[in-house]
């Protein structure tokens, strides 16, 4: 109850923090999509390279996010800037997005690609018209995972000066102000769910009905 009171009382500040949160994530997501999808596509036929990159990605994934921020902030040129926060988030998106692009492209039924080849489609046409659309559900699943993860990890970016919902949690902790912590935590959770829900809607719209009929 007191949490609700706190929420209502500080609605303006909270709205600001939420917007900042969304802004950070959107920015990071844009870069992540461009970078990791392209790389995923580029490495699709180079298994060794892919395995190497996936190894790197999973190592990055296993580094506690707070320490990535901590390290980035000491690197000249990154510092307390938003660049550090975005960079860290983009790094974390590497595994789910790049891996899913790579796997999904390679998992497209061999016989379908053979049919496409047999029909005279060029490599590029096969990539764009067949492989990517068919890989899309899996790629999208990866993007969703990355996005939800980002929503959570972004909260830790307050330790390097970002202002977002994580601030409610961090300050709530130092001030032992539980309503703040709860408000922050719940809002982040809700944001994660909403973002995921929106993505699910987009996914439904974008994916050929021929693909989700079997699920």
């Amino acid at each position: 109850m007191s949490t609700l009171k706190y929420f209502i009382k500080n609605i303006d500040k909270i709205t600001d923090l939420t917007m900042e949160h969304i802004e950070l994530i959107s920015l990071a997501m844009c870069f992540a999509l461009i970078i990791w999808i392209s790389i995923g596509i580029l490495i699709r036929n180079h298994n060794k390279l892919a395995n190497g990159l996936l190894g790197v990605a999973s190592i990055i994934m296993s580094i506690p996010s707070i320490s990535i921020y901590g390290i980035l902030v000491t690197i000249p040129g990154f510092g307390l800037s938003r660049l550090s926060a975005v960079f860290a988030l983009v790094l974390y998106a590497m595994l789910p997005i790049m891996r899913n692009v790579y796997l999904a492209l390679n998992e497209v039924d061999e016989s379908i690609i053979e049919a496409a080849r047999g029909m005279g489609m060029k490599k590029n046409q096969i990539l764009w018209k067949i492989q990517l659309p068919l890989a899309f559900p899996i790629i999208f699943a990866g993007v969703r995972v990355a996005l939800v993860m980002m929503v959570g990890i972004a909260t830790l970016a307050v330790y390097i000066g970002e202002r977002n919902l994580g601030r409610l949690i961090q300050q709530g902790i130092t001030r032992t102000h539980m309503d703040m912590v709860l408000t922050g935590g719940l809002l982040v959770a809700i944001l994660a769910i909403v973002v995921d829900g929106v993505m699910a809607l987009i996914q439904k719209k974008l994916i050929s009905p021929g693909l989700h009929l079997d699920s």
Binding site: N10, G79, V158, G161, Q171, I173, T174
Partner: protein, 279 residues
């Protein structure tokens, strides 16, 4: 005043007193008609220092002892005035940063115990605590991480008072959690800050630093000198604040936030209004 000039980027550390001071400065300057930008709660000293030196922020409240110990790596100075002059001179010369007037409050580290515990074990000073521990009693200490690591933290204290906390019984945790832990009886002695509002409301006794180990931590606004040149009135305007901030005032401000549940902004606004600095 002159819209050509850049906004003043006001920052602070990320805990109650700092947030309140930061917000107070912001609101005050804004009321005075300055163009300001809110960068409060940016981080701890290790982050704010480089930020103000590189011009990423323009102004925040720093404690004399902090600069002396952390940045100048000097020995402990327990005299307020001496300490202030040292850091002011150093910053002006090496970093082109100006220390404005200090407030007459000392937000130094303190060691706290629960009132009943103090009575029961008869503890009033750090020396008594040291003796108590040396007598073989087990004491659980809760402290923020930096207190464990900093030279003006545990290690120095132990050296001066000639005792040792049992490291197995030491928990480091987020600043602020120490109060909760002490209240809930999960630790026996907790590190705190001298001006924290919870000391009174949670019925803690502060152990007197009878050998004067802890340096003085007088808060004062520090500003990039360049900004002061651009805004000639800024120094005199800002110096009105430290004059009003005694230890009691700060502690009350902190209490309003940490105990009464006000937002730092609200507490700051209340203060400014009460003192007629804004309308």
């Amino acid at each position: 005043k002159d819209s050509e000039l850049p906004a003043i980027k006001v920052s602070s550390k990320a805990w109650t007193e700092q947030l309140t001071l930061g917000s107070m400065t912001l609101q005050y300057l804004e009321a005075k008609g300055y163009e300001v930008e809110d960068r409060t709660g940016l981080g701890e000293t290790p982050m704010l220092r480089p930020a103000i030196q590189s011009g990423e922020i323009d102004l925040y409240w720093e404690y004399t002892g902090t600069t002396l110990m952390v940045n100048m790596k000097s020995d402990v100075v327990t005299d307020s005035k001496e300490c202030y002059e040292m850091v002011k001179k150093w910053d002006a010369e090496t970093n082109n940063i100006t220390w404005l007037d200090p407030a007459n409050a000392n937000n130094t580290y303190i060691l706290m115990v629960r009132e009943d515990f103090a009575k029961e074990k008869n503890l009033a000073t750090v020396s008594e605590l040291a003796d108590y521990i040396k007598a073989g009693n087990e004491i659980r200490l809760g402290a923020g991480i930096e207190f464990v690591e900093r030279p003006d933290g545990i290690k120095g204290l132990e050296t001066l008072y000639d005792f040792k906390f049992d490291r197995d019984l030491l928990s480091s945790m987020a600043i602020g959690i120490t109060y909760e832990a002490l209240k809930n009886g999960q630790v026996d002695v907790a590190m705190g800050f001298g001006t924290d509002g919870r000391i009174i409301s949670m019925n803690f006794n502060v152990l007197e630093d009878n050998l004067k180990f802890f340096p003085v931590y007088n808060p004062a606004p520090i500003v990039r000198s360049e900004i002061l040149e651009q805004y000639p009135d800024l120094e005199s305007d800002l110096n009105k604040l430290p004059a009003l901030l005694t230890g009691e005032v700060l502690q009350e401000l902190n209490r309003r936030v940490d105990v009464d549940g006000l937002e730092p902004e609200e507490a700051a606004e209340e203060f400014l209004r009460a003192n007629g600095l804004i309308d």
